[in-house]
């Protein structure tokens, strides 16, 4: 639906752009206008986003390995459940439950992602069995002490960004579209991100994050892609490296389960206390 909406929105401009391009072309060798590059960037991102959609709901257990600059490791095991909402103008619902470290076992984070508005988030603290609605303004803060910010985990909705296609280049054995995206939502820690999306399976292979000053902050690699149900690609390893601190966080995903009969009723505050 939204893909249609987006095109309809762009339509009136296309004539103007077209006219502009014609005028410009008569003066200079302009291969494509800025608007065209933005549209192309959006299309690449949309193709990437939609290649993963339609799974309804999923659940995966993962291990998070945090390394500091001197190589000391710390580990967390968590489970992430996702409820996909068919309407792209509404974000997904997400439930993260911690299995370790043992002192935070059972801690759960429930979020309803929004597109441009702040997400709704609730935190469950098992020691007191307390559910707390928390502020989600803290998008750029570290997620459980890791190099992933909250927005890196929950912020992967198509319409949260504006896009510009930069170039095409080889990425390993594949060819990638290199697309810049700039957050449209408030309180982001980034001015822009540059993503490498391959032209074969339309999956993100690499993502660079630029901080508020415009300097390269982090690089995320997506590795070991696996195809589930002949439809959904999922990277089994995410590697996030912080160039400014020398710290890194790797995520190792176990087997994804798709369409396992989760519904809205499994993503409410009332279920948080029964996750462990």
């Amino acid at each position: 639906m939204l893909a249609l909406k987006a095109r309809i929105q762009f339509n009136p401009y296309k004539y103007v752009i077209f006219a502009g391009v014609l005028v410009l072309a008569s003066f200079a060798h302009s291969p494509a206008s800025a608007e065209d590059l933005d549209q192309k960037g959006y299309d690449v991102a949309a193709r990437n986003d939609r290649s993963d959609r339609g799974f309804n709901n999923s659940r995966v257990e993962l291990e998070m390995v945090l390394k500091n600059a001197s190589g000391a490791e710390s580990r967390r095991v968590l489970e992430q459940s996702t409820l996909e909402l068919p309407d792209e103008s509404v974000g997904d619902k997400n439930l993260i439950v911690f299995f370790s470290p043992a002192d935070i076992e059972g801690t759960a984070l429930l979020s309803y992602a929004k597109i441009l508005d702040p997400d709704d988030q609730w935190l469950y603290l098992p020691a007191l069995k307390r559910v707390k609605r928390i502020s989600s303004k803290n998008k750029s803060g570290p997620f459980v002490g890791s190099e992933f910010a909250f927005e890196d985990i929950t912020g992967q909705e198509l319409e949260k960004y504006e896009y510009t296609w930069l170039r095409e280049e080889a990425c390993g054995e594949l060819t990638c579209d290199v697309v810049e995206r700039r957050p449209l939502y408030r309180d982001s820690g980034y001015t822009r991100q540059i993503g490498w999306v391959d032209q074969t399976d339309y999956q993100t292979r690499k993502l660079e994050y630029y901080d508020r000053k415009g300097s390269l902050l982090k690089t995320q690699l997506f590795e070991d892609y696996k195809l589930y149900d002949d439809k959904y690609w999922r990277a089994q390893v995410w590697r996030m490296e912080n160039h400014q601190t020398g710290k890194s966080t790797d995520l190792f995903f176990k087997e994804y389960k798709f369409d396992i009969d989760l519904s809205d009723k499994d993503f409410v505050t009332g279920v948080l206390s029964r996750q462990r």
Partner: protein, 416 residues
Amino acid sequence: MNKLQECISLLIILARALAISLLFKLSDVSAQSFDLSGQVALELRGFPDKSLLPGQVEGAQFSSFLEPEYRWRSSDRNSLLKFTPFVRVDTVDDKRTHFDIREANWLKIAGDWEFLVGATRIFWGVTESRHLVNIINQIDAVEDIDEEAFLGQPMAKISRQTDIGRFELFLMTGFRERTFAGPDGRLRTPLPVKTGDAVYENSAKEWHPDFALRYSHFFGDFDIGLHVFRGINREPSLVLSSDAQNFIPHYSVITQAGIDLQFTRDAWLWKLEGIVREGQGDAFAATVAGLEYTFFQVAESDIDLGLIVEGLYDGRDKLNFADIQSKQIFPTIYDKDIFLGARLALNDVQDSSILAGFVTDIVDGPATLRVEAERRLGQHMKIELIGQAFFEDNPINPVSFFRQDSFVTLRVSRFF
């Protein structure tokens, strides 16, 4: 330190031994699972001031607790069993040495319905300084005076999730008496409370059928909870014994209605809890209302600083210390108080945090300051440092019982 380590290992082995016949941990998340986890802790509580009352412990109080949790979950995750015993051993205070079953229940999920039978703990509420609406469980008051440890309450609970919110019905019996420090303990009333001899103002005594109904939901930035409760008051009145050597806890049947409300916008949390209660003396109302603002990533670091202000009101008659001999007292200290708090979260790998809270009576000025700091050590240990100081010259407020009991607690826990 070696002894300490040995002690910890021994306790863990003990907990494991209990489970060994049943324990088979499966890594596959979707399969039936049986798990054991838990906490064992060593605690040292130090009192720098000389005690107010004769017989109370001087200097240091050493204590330890074990809280294992055994869990079973069916492969479809719709049936869960939980057993969480708790035992504390205190070297000084016999009343603080105690055993409880925090959780022993069976939970069955059937679509939008949820059924629970057994003992469990429930938490309601949003404010930080006082948990006013949280009425289902009895406070395990010997644990700490922060009213955040609770005894398991036997119940049958039925919940239903609907599109307009969650409805929960609690049917309870087997009332739990509040725990109080013994004569040797600090942080107690001037005369010890004689637990076990409680007086019930109903014929069924602790087997009185209590019930509660709760509705909770969120509407945009608002989270709301409403409840009604009819049953034995969790908060006793204390009555002087005939020999004037003890306080006897009296438990009456009350009816209470309450609300908890939070508005979350940007970095602001606006909070309100309120109750009206009938059956314990004159009907009265009490509220806690306040706000919390968080400065995220202070000075471009990962540190978050939250500031909290809450106002407390309790409509019950102010206790006059001189009346203790002639009148029953309620152990409430919040009549017209203000709470100022700060929460510092380092957001580091060890989840280090510091929480400071200051409560003062705005009428006559007794005050208390509490600071809690914690940090994970490695993957399985945690160290906590808790300090609380009481400032009181004019002993007309119940908190003045504690005026010589400023303390520092060091707790080292091993999680398994």
